[in-house]
């Protein structure tokens, strides 16, 4: 009786079926208030999937050898069976493009549609980082432009010259993102208004008495700070693009293209746990609702559950297959736990999450999705219950200790500490070292000085020397990298002379 109303039976899929599933999934998603970009679903073969892998999933990319290397690596791993292929790739664009592999069964296709076209899609549209940093409706056009531009440059200036610039830019890609919005440049009108306002302010505050105060003598005057830039600049690529003394205009444009791409990917690296957790939570919720409404049969559900449990498996640290914390597992657990806290809170939950315990879970989840990134999300929402379930514990690896010390575990004393450390682990600062431009000797030898702000004695790898060489290629004059910690400069300076 249960199967009478099921949309499909068996494993095969066709385009009509995909559309019918999409209609149902869409209805359920809207019912929960998911707001998405329009969807575009593209069916591809596994070979095309390998192609898509190599270009970070982007449908259009400029030619570069590193993508070839990535392709060869994936292809090799896939051929030897060391690595399976993802069921889908989804692109943060409007319309939101999701790739489905033709080898998938209908259950998997439905899972993927729910996961990518509604889960990820709504995250792309709702999360503040994506809203701030990516223009979903413009990215595809920009990619097409970038590809064409790079290829034109190759025709005009030779593939080697272009490759050199791109290599250098790729090395600095993690240091080519803005983490805070620059203020938009003032219009002439606004500028004039601001001047007038200042003038008016000065007039109102005028007091002739100040004129009589003796001026400080010349030698006591604070020296005018000739250093440029005034403040350290963390977006190295932007600084190169704006101020490099040697770059040709077309090279500047290439730097800009790489910088734009880095910025486009920046929110994704910041929200891995949230993004995957959100999508996984929704495919799980939607599939279960389909089953409750008898729209899918038990066979479908069993296959879905098998895939789902594979995705959210979290092996322990001592398991041979351990590969770090699984963002799918962690994210899914936190979102599911939030729903539980709303629906059936316990005493512990009321103590830890007084604001949301017993609330409307749709609203709470929506708020969490919109306003956080991994770091703050974990710091805010990881509950003691989850720490117990994951058996999370923190280790401290300090140079002055001859052993690794268990810092804290999932107990009453450790909850806050473990949560804080796990959140820090997901922060940008713990992945990308703090390297900033501190000095551009504009009036002297035009050298560029970078400062690595070392924290807690953690050094850079030796590859830093190579990166400095790459930067020297873009800059054209001497580039040096200093290391500082606690306002003390270390003597080892990596320098690449002009």
């Amino acid at each position: 009786m249960s199967a009478i109303s099921a949309i499909s039976r068996g494993a095969d899929w066709d385009f009509d079926l995909l559309e019918r599933y999409d209609t149902e999934i869409s209805r359920i998603a809207r019912g929960h208030g998911l707001d998405t970009y329009p969807n575009q679903i593209e069916v591809i073969t596994s070979e095309q999937m390998l192609d898509a892998y190599a270009s970070s999933g982007l449908p259009v990319g400029y030619p570069h050898w590193s993508y070839g290397k990535e392709f060869i690596r994936n292809e090799q791993a896939y051929r030897r069976g060391m690595q399976g292929l993802a069921y889908e790739i989804v692109i943060n664009s409007s319309p939101c493009i999701a790739y489905l592999m033709e080898e998938n069964t209908i259950a998997t296709q439905a899972l993927v549609i729910a996961h990518a076209s509604y889960g990820h899609n709504s995250f792309f549209k709702g999360n503040h980082l994506f809203r701030q940093w990516t223009a979903a409706d413009a990215i595809l056009d920009y990619l097409v432009f970038a590809r064409r531009y790079v290829m034109q440059c190759e025709e005009r200036h030779g593939a080697t010259a272009v490759e050199e610039v791109l290599d250098a830019c790729h090395a600095l890609m993690p240091h080519g993102v803005d983490r805070y919005r620059r203020p938009a440049p003032l219009t002439l009108k606004a500028e004039a208004a601001r001047l007038a306002e200042r003038e008016a302010h000065r007039e109102r505050q005028f007091n002739d008495l100040w004129r009589t105060v003796p001026e400080a003598r010349a030698e006591n005057k604070p020296e005018v700070n000739a250093a440029f830039p005034q403040d350290p600049q963390e977006n190295v690529l932007y600084f190169v693009e704006k101020y490099s003394p040697r770059l040709e205009p077309w090279e500047r444009e290439l730097v800009r293209i790489v910088r734009k791409l880095a910025q486009y990917f920046y929110p994704q690296a910041q929200t891995k746990v949230m993004n995957e957790g959100w999508a996984t939570f929704w495919h799980y919720t939607i599939m279960n609702q389909l089953h409750e409404e008898r729209l899918v049969d038990d066979g479908f559900m069993l296959e879905f559950l098998k895939n789902h449990t594979n995705v959210i498996a979290q092996p322990g640290f001592d398991s041979p297959v351990y590969g770090g914390l699984n963002p799918y597992a962690l994210g899914f657990a936190v979102f599911s736990d939030l729903k539980r806290i709303c629906e059936s809170p316990e005493a512990e939950d009321r103590e830890w999450f007084p604001d949301i315990a017993g609330g409307d879970w749709n609203k709470v989840l929506d708020f969490a999705m919109r306003n956080f990134k991994d770091e703050s999300f974990i710091a805010q929402y990881l509950s003691p219950r989850l720490m117990r379930e994951f058996h999370l514990f923190a280790l401290a690896d300090h140079t002055n200790e001859d052993a690794i010390v268990v810092d804290s575990i999932h107990d009453d004393h450790g909850y806050r500490r473990v949560r804080k450390l796990l959140a820090q682990q997901h922060a940008q600062e713990s992945r990308v070292p703090d390297v900033q431009v501190v000095r551009f000797d504009r009036d002297g030898d035009r050298s560029l000085t970078l400062r690595h702000q070392r924290r807690r004695g953690r050094p850079l790898t030796e590859a830093a020397g190579e990166v400095v060489k790459h930067l020297r290629r873009l800059w054209g004059f001497t580039v040096r990298l200093e290391t500082w910690e606690n306002d003390i400069r270390f003597s080892d300076v990596v320098e690449c002379p002009a």
């Binding site: 073969t45 090395a171 890609m173 999370l392 010390v405 575990i409 953690r458």
Partner: protein, 422 residues
């Protein structure tokens, strides 16, 4: 709202261009790897593609990253027995503690980037920068071969070439065209006949009946297949550039040529053969061995059958010339490679050199001579070498080298066939 697109027909290979770039960029490393593979391989396997290992550090993309050292904390899942304050000894061999079983099962694959080259890619790298001497002349070479290619259909032809499907199509078209009017008339008359019978006009019905019979007869005379329907497959002859070569392998098999030297020669011949097959669609092999007289043999006997006797180089050259005249007189690009330990006596070297210069070389694209020395240190040049040196000075399509070790064969080969740079 939903847009479904089937991208499967778009085809794969979007990454081909990037893969190509990768290979080009790391040409030096890949060439080194290919060279190592050649050293390990048997000649019979030489033509296959293969797996190439390139050190990972050579192709890494640098970026600022945290190295090992310093103080840090990290959170792991799956705690079973640890409580706060426990001390765990650092895993050996690594400054940083991963505290995980990640090290197991990876082994040495970590420091090499492994990927496979297709046969074509392998051969291209293998023969990179090598150019076939005098290839230009061959390309312009007289086009004496003609190839028969299909060229649509014709109305005339021999019965064997009858294109049945095409003919039937014609016939159907003709029958429709000619029979259409009649068919309509017949239908109308049949309707009229039915009316006449129903009304009771016996005369009228009889007249219509006769008329119908006449029309049916007329329809019957359209033949099923008529002469104008016939179509024949058409073929035309198109001239083709010659793309075939004959390769003469000449070897001294006298007692002084031991197995080692023969092995060297075989490597050299194999390389030349592989190289020629890349340039020509069709390569004929001729094996001529000689002691004091020459004979043509098959490949197996050429390399493995031993004979005893003296050495007369001229006999081999004469036989080669004879074979060339008989079988490869025109329309062939002829190459020859001679391997010998350089032993020759009396007037033979001088006569051989003269015969080579006057008879053989003018008809050859290229002639290579490889002298298999006992050891590379012996600088003593053989009489044959001395005579051939004079030939080399005089002719452009003659080259000679000396080799004594296996490893030298490939460099010698490269050296002989390297691209001429201005």
């Amino acid at each position: 709202m939903l847009q479904l697109i089937d991208r499967r027909p778009n085809g794969r290979g979007k990454s081909a261009v990037n893969r190509e770039r990768f290979l080009r960029r790391y040409k030096a490393q890949i060439q080194g790897a290919v060279k190592r593979m050649i050293g390990e391989r048997r000649i019979a396997d030489m033509e296959k593609g293969g797996e190439v290992r390139v050190p990972k550090k050579d192709i890494s993309e640098p970026s600022f990253n945290f190295g090992t050292g310093g103080d840090r904390e990290f959170v792991l899942p799956g705690n079973r027995e640890y409580v706060t304050g426990d001390r765990i000894p650092r895993p050996e061999g690594s400054g940083s503690a991963r505290g995980s079983g990640n090290e197991a099962g990876h082994g040495d694959s970590e420091d090499a980037f492994v990927f496979s080259l297709s046969r074509e890619e392998f051969m291209r790298i293998f023969f990179d920068d090598l150019e076939l001497p005098n290839l230009a002349r061959t390309a312009i070479g007289r086009s004496e071969r003609k190839k028969s290619v299909r060229a649509g259909f014709a109305k005339t032809g021999v019965p064997a070439n009858l294109a049945i499907v095409r003919t039937l199509k014609q016939s159907v078209a003709r029958r429709i065209a000619l029979g259409g009017g009649l068919k309509r008339e017949i239908r109308e008359l049949e309707a009229a006949f039915v009316t006449a019978v129903a009304v009771g006009h016996a005369e009228e019905a009889a007249r219509i009946f006769d008329e119908l019979a006449r029309l049916e007869r007329r329809r019957g005379v359209h033949p099923f297949i008529d002469e104008p329907d016939l179509r024949y497959r058409n073929r035309v002859l198109r001239p083709e550039p010659i793309a075939r070569a004959a390769m003469f392998c000449l070897m001294d098999v006298s007692a002084s040529m031991d197995e080692d030297k023969k092995d060297l020669a075989k490597r050299f011949f194999t390389l030349l053969y592989l190289f020629l097959t890349r340039k020509y669609a069709e390569v004929d092999l001729v094996f001529v061995r000689h002691t004091d007289d020459a004979e043509e043999v098959d490949e197996d006997r050429f390399f493995h059958d031993t004979r005893s006797g003296g050495t007369v180089v001229l006999s081999a050259l004469e036989l080669a010339e004879q074979i060339r005249r008989e079988r490869y007189a025109s329309g062939w690009n002829v190459y020859a490679a001679q391997a010998s330990d350089g032993d020759a006596f009396g007037a033979d070297p001088a006569r051989s050199a003269r015969f080579l210069r006057e008879q053989l070389l003018p008809a050859m694209r290229y002639y290579t001579y490889l002298e298999l020395a006992a050891s590379s240190t012996s600088e003593r040049s053989s009489t044959l070498w001395a005579e051939y040196e004079r030939v080399a000075e005089a002719s452009r399509n003659f080259a000679m080298r000396r080799a004594s070790e296996r490893e030298q064969i490939y460099p010698v080969f490269r050296d002989l066939f390297k691209k001429e740079t201005q």
